[in-house]
């Protein structure tokens, strides 16, 4: 019998706690596949956030540290400065990274810490029950913007990738999505590029991945994917926002 599909070695054989239809599972798998392909499972130290991915340490079969809310880039900095020869990544959601952790991510980029951040943007606080996130769209209903996000009262969503791309220390910033197989392939390529640039010692790398939250958005998994394409991508355009490689932008 030929095995055509199996669990990546960098993922544990543990059922995840993620809701049905949530795309965290795809993103975990992509990160694990990249770790496998680069042969760095025994060299990798991951940092899990506070938020839906808080238990990521149960799913990645590598050394892990669980950070306080928003502080993963600081924790990763401490790890990488002690072990500059290891591969260090953070896995963070939008509340964690783009709200409470803005100082940590901006300055990790400014210092050009040689780490990779996997930034999962689903425009909501999933874990705590669908509250308004820094990335919640104008007009989007959440449990703390029940009449829809009103820009006059609650301001505007933050475009993290575009903002970080302005920082000199950031060497690779890309926004991808996982709403169909073609985009999943592109997302994996971006994650791999980011890890490769880190391993090459080039500097700070981040991949923002648009992700669905069927539970808190109130859609079926399939409709959630459509909502992402119709509503999130116009506000959060996909593409490489910054790279050191020639001929790409």
């Amino acid at each position: 019998m030929i095995t055509v599909f199996e669990r990546p070695k960098a993922l544990t054989a543990v059922k995840t706690h993620y809701c049905p239809g949530c795309t965290h599972g795809i993103i975990h798998r992509l990160v694990a596949e990249v770790i496998d392909e680069l042969g760095v499972q025994e060299e990798t130290i991951g940092v899990s956030p506070v938020g839906c991915a808080v238990l990521a340490y149960n799913y990645f079969d590598v050394d892990m540290q669980e950070a306080a809310h928003g502080r993963a880039p600081a924790v990763a900095t401490g790890i990488k400065r002690v072990h500059p020869d290891k591969v260090v990544f953070t896995y963070q959601g939008d509340g964690d990274l783009a709200s409470i952790g803005t100082a940590e991510i901006v300055h990790a980029a400014a210092r050009s810490e040689k780490i990779t951040t996997i930034f999962v943007n689903n425009a909501t606080y999933g874990m705590t029950g669908g509250q308004m996130a820094p990335t919640t769209l104008v007009g989007q209903v959440s449990t703390t913007s029940p009449r829809g996000r009103d820009s006059a009262i609650q301001g505007y969503p933050i475009r993290v990738s575009e903002m970080l791309a302005t920082i000199e220390g950031a060497v690779y910033i890309a926004r991808v999505s996982v709403h169909n197989p073609q985009e999943v392939a592109k997302a994996k390529k971006a994650i791999k590029t980011a890890f490769e640039l880190q391993i090459a010692g080039r500097g700070f790398t981040l991949v923002e991945i648009l992700s669905t939250c069927p539970t808190n958005w109130g859609y079926s998994p399939k409709d959630a994917l459509k909502w992402l394409v119709d509503n999130m991508i116009p506000i959060y355009p996909l593409g490489v926002k910054k790279t050191l490689e020639e001929g790409k932008s």
């Binding site: 060299e43 130290i45 050394d63 600081a74 790890i79 210092r111």
Partner: protein, 356 residues
């Protein structure tokens, strides 16, 4: 090695290096700035890393990451900055990571002042952040003692896998004294840290974590931590000064204890049997030693640079058997020897009318 004249903050920085500290993460705040400034210069010379973080919050979380990765690591700050670090400190305590945290206390509350104070005593010895946890708290009174304490601080941190706080104040940080360092070439044997995240080569992955979603597990974890804090009781350190026959016993730590000691000598010259008990570990608190020192005491007087914090623990640890009084200055004001002497005289003579 001959004595050198050195500022407290710089001496502490050098002592940390001699103790094998190779990683420092901090953020500027007065009156401790000479610690990061000294280490910014010195750490790269010994192959270490100095990093100025974007905030105290980031700095303490860098300490978390580095400590979790097996490093001998330190941060320093002063009162408002230590408040900011509390979140990280409780995570470090919960995840049982070894590190040293220095607090050169200044006046509060709020932005307070940049002058010396001892008003973070409660914060230091009762935990400081959320949850049930304790720091090992060491309170040096001289620059030499601070230097001699650094090796012990890191060793205790490693032994108990617990954050250790050096609770100093702006006087100790800013003053200069003659100091002798341990030899530089001392071969340090550092503890093995098989639990650290170093890359899971040939072993199962390690996890640094303070999350226990199952309440049964979290309660077990808290019992485990409590047993550890109980074990720390044997680490108590203190100094007795002329307490053998003392009828008025002063209690103070750090800079205040030095003022109290001078007041004891003046009181003795006045024919008053005064003494000083100086706790060197504030957690664990040297309860038995305090009770022993106060055996003859009619009155106990705490001398503090606060509005009365240590006094609560002294009353508690003497089990309310002896009257315990408080004298303190706050906000950056420092008690004078004369004022302390007046307090001693007041309590030494109180009750004499009744006896007559």
């Amino acid at each position: 090695m001959a004595k050198v004249l050195m500022k407290g903050n710089e001496a502490l920085g050098e002592a940390a290096i001699r103790a094998g500290c190779r990683y420092f993460f901090g953020y500027p705040i007065t009156p401790q700035n000479e610690i990061p400034q000294y280490l910014a210069k010195r750490l790269p010379e010994v192959g270490g890393v100095f990093l100025q973080a974007e905030s105290e919050i980031a700095a303490i979380n860098m300490v978390y990451g580095a400590a979790g990765s097996g490093a001998r690591v330190m941060t320093s700050s002063s009162s408002p900055g230590i408040s900011l670090k509390q979140e990280g400190i409780t995570y470090i305590a919960g995840a049982e990571l070894p590190c040293v945290i220095v607090n050169m206390q200044r006046g509060g509350p709020g932005l307070g002042s940049i002058q010396p104070a001892q008003s973070d005593y409660f914060q230091a010895v009762k935990g400081g952040g959320h949850g049930d946890y304790k720091l090992l708290v060491l309170a040096p009174a001289t620059i030499q003692e601070m230097v001699d304490m650094m090796g012990k601080a890191f060793d205790l941190a490693d032994e108990y896998r617990n954050p250790v706080m050096i609770l100093g104040d702006g006087i100790l940080g800013q003053m200069m004294e003659g100091v002798e360092f341990p030899a530089e070439e001392t071969a340090l044997t550092l503890a093995e840290k098989p639990w650290a995240t170093t890359g899971a080569k040939g072993r199962k992955p390690n996890l640094i974590n303070s999350l226990f979603l199952d309440p049964v597990e979290l309660e077990q974890h808290n019992h485990h931590l409590q047993r550890k804090y109980d074990r720390m009781a044997k680490e108590v350190l203190w100094e007795n000064y002329r307490t053998d026959d003392a009828e008025v016993v002063l209690v103070g730590y750090g800079s205040s204890a030095r003022i109290a000691k001078a007041a004891v000598d003046l009181a003795r010259a006045h024919g008053i049997k005064a003494g000083l008990f100086r706790p060197i570990t504030l957690f664990p608190f040297p309860k038995a030693a305090l009770q022993e020192a106060c055996k003859q005491a009619n009155h106990v007087l705490t001398v503090e640079m606060s509005m009365g914090q240590l006094v609560e623990d002294v009353r508690y640890n003497l089990e309310f058997k002896v009257p315990v009084h408080f004298y303190g200055r706050s906000g950056g004001m420092v008690p004078t020897t004369r004022a302390v002497l007046e307090e001693i005289i007041r309590w030494a003579h109180s009750g004499e009318e009744d006896k007559a």
